[in-house]
């Protein structure tokens, strides 16, 4: 046997070892942080108009619009967002605070959703640093069962435009940001809206450790989590 063949043989063994070990993740079953959510299995979610705790009047509409795709992709049916807004408006609900006063029974009657997502925008916009400014968006959320009023899940997420620079995970976030930019295209090129998209995706995308669990329409693979 020539030396060359023997080297190739060794490489095969080494690669096989990498291949067998490579994708395995150590699986420690975590304590279920959201037993109520797992038990309630809501299939449809009503996104309530977000409460704005920032000076930027654009914040609620931006966050509300950005919530639709990640929540749907996580496997939930999202009640048609603009139509829900219109129904609320026609019924004299003018502000997010008004909307939050509506009882869960009434929301369930009109919209028939299993759960409602209440969001608060805590930060939305520019934070000025010495040289640059960065855009920061922080959103808090609470998922409430409309059938019995129980809180099923709470979460909070942030994103910043400065994450692209000087962050070891910059590559990944860069890709995410790129995806969001493509998604919103040229009509809203403004940074806050894009950063809001990343924050909301982290919050609702069903892939973060403390994020929302995938819903019933998620692919079988994702739903096993």
């Amino acid at each position: 046997m020539s030396i060359r063949i023997r080297c190739v043989g060794l490489a095969v063994v080494a690669l096989a070892a990498v291949l067998l070990g490579g994708c395995a993740t150590v699986h420690i079953p975590p304590a279920d942080p959201w037993p109520a959510l797992r038990e309630a299995r809501p299939a449809s979610v009503l996104v309530m108009p977000p409460v704005n705790n920032t000076p930027d009047v654009e914040a609620p509409a931006s966050v509300m619009a950005q919530a639709m795709v990640p929540l749907s992709e996580a496997g939930y049916y999202v009640m048609p967002v603009a139509l829900v807004n219109e129904t609320l408006r026609l019924n004299g609900v003018q502000t997010p605070q008004d909307a939050q006063q509506i009882s869960v029974q009434r929301l369930r009657e009109v919209f028939g959703a299993d759960a409602a997502l209440y969001m608060e925008v805590r930060k939305f916009g520019s934070v000025y640093r010495v040289i640059t400014s960065e855009s920061v968006v922080t959103v808090d959320a609470r998922l409430v069962d409309l059938r019995d009023g129980r809180t099923l899940w709470t979460g909070s997420a942030s994103a910043s435009s400065a994450e692209q620079r000087g962050n070891p995970q910059g590559g990944l976030i860069g890709v995410l940001l790129q995806a969001v930019i493509e998604q919103v295209a040229s009509n809203f090129s403004d940074r806050n809206h894009q950063v809001a998209g990343i924050a909301v995706r982290r919050l609702l995308g069903g892939s973060e450790a403390r994020g929302l669990l995938p819903g019933p329409r998620a692919r079988a693979v994702d739903a096993q989590r």
């Binding site: 095969v12 619009a65 967002v81 028939g112």
Partner: protein, 125 residues
């Protein structure tokens, strides 16, 4: 010259290694211009309903061509746009389409359809 067995095995393993950990990035739904239309609608309190409706209709045709279902909410959003454009019959048809495609929406769509019928009966014709 043909590759020896170990060489072929090496090639196979390398190709497995490259593909094995890749996760599929395909989304559940084909969203098209709907997220943009929604953002425009919410942020500009309306916007150009006719243009948005025609963009969404185009996307529906493309989806149908690719045998993919419309994403959740798209038909309902079209119904809203057609209501604003004064085309009640198209609006009603899209409410029905949303309900047929996504049973989760049935109660809400029925609520809207019932209100639409009431409004039609209430108005003098």
């Amino acid at each position: 010259m043909s590759a020896s067995l170990p060489q072929r095995a090496l090639l196979l393993l390398v190709s497995l290694l490259i593909t094995a950990c890749a996760t599929p990035t395909r989304t559940l739904y084909d969203w098209g211009s709907y997220p943009q239309a929604l953002a425009l609608h919410l942020r500009q309190a309306g916007g150009d309903a006719a243009r948005q409706a025609s963009l969404l209709e185009e996307h529906l045709q493309r989806s149908a061509g690719a045998a993919r279902a419309a994403p959740p909410g798209l038909h309902a959003h079209l119904a809203l746009l057609y209501t604003q454009l004064g085309n009640e019959s198209l609006a009603l048809r899209h409410l029905q389409a949303e309900k047929a495609l996504y049973p989760e929406a049935a109660a809400y769509m029925d609520f809207l359809l019932k209100n639409a019928r009431k409004a039609a009966q209430g108005s003098p014709s």
